[in-house]
Amino acid sequence: MIAADKREKHDMKKILVVDDESSVRYMIKEMIEPLGFEVVEAKNGIEAISICNDSSVDLIITDIVMPDKNGIDLIMAVRKQYPGLPVIAMSGGGGIAGNFDYLEIAKLVGAKNILKKPFSSREICSLVEESLDERSKH
């Protein structure tokens, strides 16, 4: 019943999951779809932008390190083209130049929230809801 309620609450909000690992994309899809979201997938930034251009997306969950337009570039592009579109950046860690974590960089360039891999379904679900709630407030 709770799941049905949530499904109604988030009825057909579209969430774009971007990760070069299909298993991760699928897992996230499995975790958040029960909350009533429409989940679309992209394997890199280019595909993600294309999807955004073709249809209305309410939230983007993106990995950072990806071939063919990485998560940072994607966030920057989204911030430019779709300023109100929230993005959750996720990463398994690491960074550039030794000192800057990818997630920190992602936050700097405009990610709404960040998510460290690996994460539990609870963590991602709550973060997705949080991000969409804040967007709806705006």
Binding site: V65, G92, G98
Partner: protein, 875 residues
């Protein structure tokens, strides 16, 4: 007064030959000196000889004259005595009284008286009284020293004897003196020869009637002996010659008594010319070819003072024609010509000997004087040459040479004028040292004051040398070195000042000093050594500091003495190619050994320098590599850590991606299993979930290591935490290991992170257990360490201060020294493939240094290993 050094004298060549002065040169002075002296000496010698001979002759002649006169006097005295005796006897009272009464004479008393007389006198051979008829009336014979009266019957008739005949004719007081002859007894010459003179005088009685004669036979040997004694001092032959030129006395007795003996030898036969002169004059002295004759005449009758008349008996054949004045003897002293010549020769010998000695002395003296003159001349020549040389040197010297009298210049050379810029010597002379100096010296002292002091010092000492600032006429100041030497010139004490312009030298010295100072201050060590002997001839202060030897010690050493890796042949094999070229320099690393034995890694830049006109040498720059090697090690380590960090970060990122899927799908699978209530699957998935969680923690730490500085540290009481962690580790991973705790202070607090501390203990304890093959003891210690000063075993940095120390000690096989250097490298492991990641100690390294702490490793192969974690004490 001005003293000028004179020169321009004719140069004289040095004497040739071994004799430094040359015989010819000496003869040149010897002969003019010797010849006049020798001639003069000969003249003097001859004169002395002449004087000597003349003087000798005069002395001897005078002596002979003296002896002749002395003997003549003695003879006369003797005759006077006899005549006196005769007259006394003739007037004897017995005779007078005996003849008074009658012509009969009483002879007894007379005999006694005359015997007494004869005995007393001892001079007369016979004393007789002969009466007027010629009969002996009394006769006293003197025989053997005793007077004897001749008996009457032995008395003889003497009326025919010449002495009776001549004397009976005499008047009263007149005396008959017979010739001196040999006594004849009984018609024969009495032997031994008895020279005799008969003295007779007539005897008168009281009536004035002549009654006979008294005759005294005088023994003339006494007279002759007296004569010989008187003539004893004469060197000549002493002779008595009668008027007929017969010898009455001669040194040759064979010549005597020629008129009585048959040989008839006469003086005039032997010396006819001499006799002519002697017989013709009373006395005198004459030279003839036979010698020197000194003579005098004795006339026994004329010379008698006591009698008015004298006569001689002329009855004998020899004396018949003789008047009374013709009765004389000649006493002669004859020095034969041989003796005269011998005497002269003696005088000549003395003179010749003395002259020869004088001649030798003259030769020697002349030679010495000539030698001295020659030497003096040589000295003078040398002095002149020396003066000339000195003047030449004086003028030719590049140094300024000046003569100072007191504090005023009295002479100088040409260089002085050039050095100081004077146009002429006159312009310079009379100046004072202060006049050619700037007002003040480099150290600010007044030039004139100090110059006067220096001049005084030089006068009072041997010589002084000092540096001085001088000033040219044009005002240019230059550095000079001044040598002041006191000396005597022309009898005056003066100072010679030699001034050398050392501006260039000072410049070079300053450059050298700067160069040396630069070299000494250089951090690198500079060694210079000779290519042949390899001996160092220069090292800078850096080199001295590096190897610990003193400069003088190093000057006795060679490069291979401080390079333990090299001996001489090895070192020459390094430098020989540099000498031959074409490459003259090489860089290589080696080791220097400090004097205390310490080894110093060095990088040598060695270069062979042989600039044209300079002495070839090697210069070596040695750089201490100790610090560089340490920094390089640290840098390499840091680079390695950074690379590993990046790698780890990348791996962690991928791991997280994978864990995302693993954990996520496990979670979803678990939910699905719960829907079907499949407990077994749920339990399995829980194990997967736990491992996933642990993997997630590990990756989080790996990320922490790779990023660093992100760990949240807080003060934690470490002892309880250590116990909890270790017990958890022991229960799961070290089932057969005995754990000991050495943790007395439970209140120790360190800034750390619970997870990280657990992770580090886990790594250390698992390693310890592996080192003991899962069996043995692990000792866990925790304590506060104050005043630690160590070098970190992982980062190699030295650190000090107070620390909280956690020790994990095992009793395993230990770690070899080669492995010790690598244990902190990521992925370094000694474990079997699949059993160890090699990340354990590198994570501990990273975590501890993120804590601001350090790690110490102590390991003894075969004994075990202790790894200590040192956290900064935050009390």
């Amino acid at each position: 007064m001005m003293i000028i050094l004179k020169g321009n004298h004719t140069k004289q060549s040095a004497p040739k030959g071994s004799n430094p002065y040359g015989f010819k040169r000496i003869f040149k002075y010897f002969l003019p000196l010797f010849i006049p002296l020798a001639v003069f000496e000969f003249a003097i010698a001859f004169y002395i000889y002449y004087i000597e001979v003349t003087r000798n002759e005069e002395i001897h002649a005078a002596k002979d004259i003296f002896y002749i006169q002395q003997s003549k006097l003695s003879i006369k005295l003797e005759i006077d005595t006899i005549i006196s005796d005769l007259l006394v006897v003739s007037q004897h009272r017995e005779l007078a009284s005996a003849a008074n009464k009658s012509n009969v004479i009483e002879t007894d008393g007379l005999s006694r008286e005359l015997m007494v007389f004869s005995q007393e006198k001892g001079l007369y051979d016979q004393v007789r009284f002969i009466d007027y008829r010629g009969m002996e009336r009394v006769r006293i014979n003197y025989i053997g020293g005793k007077s004897v009266v001749v008996p009457q019957n032995e008395l003889q008739d003497k009326k025919n004897r010449y002495y009776f005949y001549d004397s009976i004719r005499l008047n009263r007081g007149e005396v008959f003196v017979s010739p001196l002859d040999l006594n004849i007894e009984n018609g024969k010459i009495e032997l031994p020869y008895k020279p005799t003179i008969r003295f007779a005088t007539p005897v008168y009685n009281s009536y004035g009637k002549k009654i006979g004669v008294v005759v005294l036979n005088y023994l003339a040997s006494r007279l002759i002996d007296n004569f010989v004694r008187s003539m004893a001092g004469s060197e000549g032959h002493s002779m008595i010659v009668n008027a007929d030129s017969y010898w009455l006395r001669s040194n040759d007795s064979e010549q005597e008594w020629g008129f009585m003996l048959n040989h008839r030898r006469k003086f005039k036969d032997k010396f006819p010319k001499v006799w002519e002169q002697i017989s013709g004059s009373g006395s005198g002295q004459l030279y003839s070819s036979d010698g020197l004759f000194t003579f005098d005449s004795i006339n026994p009758l004329e010379d008698s003072k006591n009698h008015a008349r004298r006569t001689v008996d002329a009855s004998t054949s020899d004396l018949n024609d003789k008047a009374a004045t013709g009765y004389y003897w000649k006493i002669v002293a004859w020095v034969p010509d041989k003796a005269v010549k011998s005497r002269n020769w003696m005088a000549a010998r003395k003179v010749v000997f003395a002259s020869a000695l004088l001649f030798l002395l003259t030769v020697l003296g002349s030679w010495l004087i000539a030698l001295a003159w020659t030497r003096r001349l040589e000295v003078e020549v040398k002095q002149k040459e020396s003066e000339e040389k000195y003047r030449t040197l004086f003028e030719a010297s590049n140094d300024a040479i000046m003569i100072l009298n007191k504090d005023m210049f009295i002479d100088c050379n040409q260089s002085t004028l050039q050095m100081f810029g004077f146009e002429s010597r006159d312009q310079f002379i009379g100046k004072h040292p202060g006049d050619i100096s700037p007002p003040r010296q480099e150290n600010g002292v007044d030039s004139s004051v100090v110059a006067n002091q220096r001049v005084m010092d030089a006068y009072n000492n041997e010589k002084i040398i000092f540096e001085w600032l001088h000033c040219r006429v044009d005002g240019r100041i230059f550095n000079a070195e001044v040598l002041l030497t006191p000396m005597v010139l022309g009898g005056q004490r003066v100072l010679q000042a030699i001034v050398r312009d050392i501006s260039e030298r000072k410049r070079v010295e300053n450059e050298l000093a700067r160069f040396k100072s630069t070299l000494d201050k250089a951090l690198d060590c500079v060694f210079m050594f000779d290519p042949e002997t390899l001996m160092f001839f220069y090292v800078n202060q850096g080199a001295i500091n590096q190897v610990g030897y003193g400069f003088n010690e190093l000057m006795q050493m060679r490069p291979y003495d401080i390079k333990p890796e090299y001996d001489e042949s090895m070192f020459r094999s390094v430098i020989d190619p540099l000498i031959k070229g074409p490459m003259h320099a090489i860089t290589f690393e080696t080791i220097h050994q400090h004097k205390d034995g310490r080894l110093i890694p060095v990088e040598i830049f060695l270069q062979y320098l042989a600039p044209e006109g300079e002495i070839p040498r090697f210069v070596a720059f040695a750089r201490d590599l100790t610090e560089r090697q340490k920094i390089n090690r640290q840098l390499r380590h840091a680079q390695k850590m950074e690379a590993i960090g990046q790698l780890t970060g990348g791996i962690a990122h991928d791991f997280n991606n994978m864990l995302t899927a693993i954990n996520g799908y496990t979670e979803m699978a678990n939910k699905e299993a719960a829907q079907y209530d499949n407990k077994l699957i749920i339990r399995y998935l829980d194990h997967v979930k736990k491992s996933g969680k642990r993997a997630q923690d590990l990756v989080a730490q790996m990320l922490a290591f790779s990023r660093g500085g992100e760990i949240e540290l807080k003060p934690i009481m470490v002892v309880p935490l250590i116990k909890e962690s270790v017990e958890r580790i022991a229960s799961t991973s070290l089932p057969n290991i005995n754990i000991e705790y050495h943790m007395d202070d439970v209140n120790l607090i360190a800034m750390t992170n619970q997870i990280l501390l657990h992770q580090m203990l886990m790594n250390l304890c698992v390693n310890a257990g592996d080192a003991m093959d899962g069996k043995g003891n692990i000792i866990i210690g925790c304590s506060r360490e104050c005043g630690v000063a160590q070098i970190c075993s992982s980062c190699q940095a030295s650190f000090s201060g107070d620390y909280i120390k956690i020790d994990v000690t095992d009793t395993g096989g230990g770690i070899s020294s080669a492995q010790l250097e690598r244990v902190f490298d990521p992925f370094f492991t000694t474990k079997e493939v699949g059993k160890g990641t090699g990340m354990g100690l590198s994570i501990v390294h990273g975590v501890m240094h993120d804590h601001g702490g350090h790690i110490l490793v102590k390991s003894l192969p075969g004994k075990g290993t202790t790894i200590s974690l040192l956290f900064p004490d935050v009390k």
